[in-house]
Symmetry: C2
Subunit: 200 residues, 2 copies
């Protein structure tokens, strides 16, 4: 016995979510159908609407349904500091750690020639335009402390080397892996202790 075709299709569809295997997908599908049909309808509508309407901020490339995100619109941030992150989740982690008052730029990934992810895919042309405008004095390269993140930081520092901005990188203290899961204290300390960075 398996479930009916529509239930099997729903279980399969849940597998698209991170960390969801067959058993969890089954539990999710049956939970919605048995106990949460109203909540399930809201979830379906919410997924469809977000996928349809959420795009990239025209200035920083973070995810938003507006032309500009709230952080880019805010008059209370320091335009001379620009923090480059790999993802909106990293951006949120830094904001929640507190202590950084500048602006952001979101790459949505890192350079990965083997996967066909080059400079334009991660928005480096837009980043260069931003720095070329002259307001930015320091670029904090907060890409992940991984091989790809380091390589991307070096590439950016090299690309923007002619604009007279300072580069910094999060201080050692952040563990290897995904920035998103680092606790706020560690992240905040690493931010305050950030180091000058050169492309060499």
């Amino acid at each position: 016995m398996r479930f009916s075709p529509l239930i099997e299709q729903l279980m399969e569809a849940f597998r698209v979510l991170p960390g969801v295997g067959p058993k969890t997908a089954q539990r999710m599908a049956l939970h919605l159908l048995e106990r949460e049909r109203e909540g399930g309808k809201r979830l379906a509508a919410s997924i469809a609407q977000a996928i349809d309407e959420v795009g990239y901020c025209q200035r920083c490339r973070t995810l938003t349904e507006a032309p500009l995100c709230a952080l880019c619109e805010s008059p209370r941030r320091d335009d001379t500091l620009l923090c480059v992150v790999e993802s909106p989740a990293d951006q949120l982690a830094i904001e929640e750690a507190g202590g950084f008052s500048g602006r952001y730029f979101v790459l949505h990934g890192h350079l990965s020639p083997i996967d066909g992810i080059g400079p334009e895919t991660i928005g480096l042309d837009l980043l260069e335009q931003r720095v070329a405008q002259g307001e930015v004095a320091e670029v904090v390269l907060a890409t992940n402390p991984t091989v790809e993140g380091e390589a991307t930081a070096h590439y950016i520092a090299s690309q923007l080397g002619d604009y007279g901005v300072r580069f910094s990188r999060l201080a050692y203290g952040v563990p290897m892996g995904e920035l998103e899961y680092v606790d706020g204290g560690t992240l905040s300390r690493a931010f305050n202790g950030r180091l000058p960075f050169s492309s060499d």
Copy 2:
């Protein structure tokens, strides 16, 4: 900083899924928007369609979009054995354990007067009609080995006491808790060793 309103709404909507807290909901929402928009669209459509079309089998009350489920339609099952379970997940667990060749009846819960869940809510009128037709010789009361599951089993045995059917209950050997998570071997053994059951 929080995310944009549509993203926040999506994170909130994911909380309807079992075991999904704020951090997991955030990861799911960002994962779909960053990397899985096509899969996300399929998931939204699949949830909406299943909620819209999946109802109860007219004969056994399991979840299905057809008037009768595949198990009720099957000519290869023994009509004299009827296994009563609390949920489609329990039904699947028993099927996957193997060894039972009869039919099922799905309660979608158990009696719980304090929550207003009475006999009709869990389909006991339909169950009585089924037994009254005279084909069923044994009713296996495979409700969960919990206080509510036991109480529901006793209620059913008492309600159907006049129809001359035998009642049995899964043998001890199943641990306390949710039947759905019991391993197949334990479940299969408990099934084979099922005991007569009376409403006293």
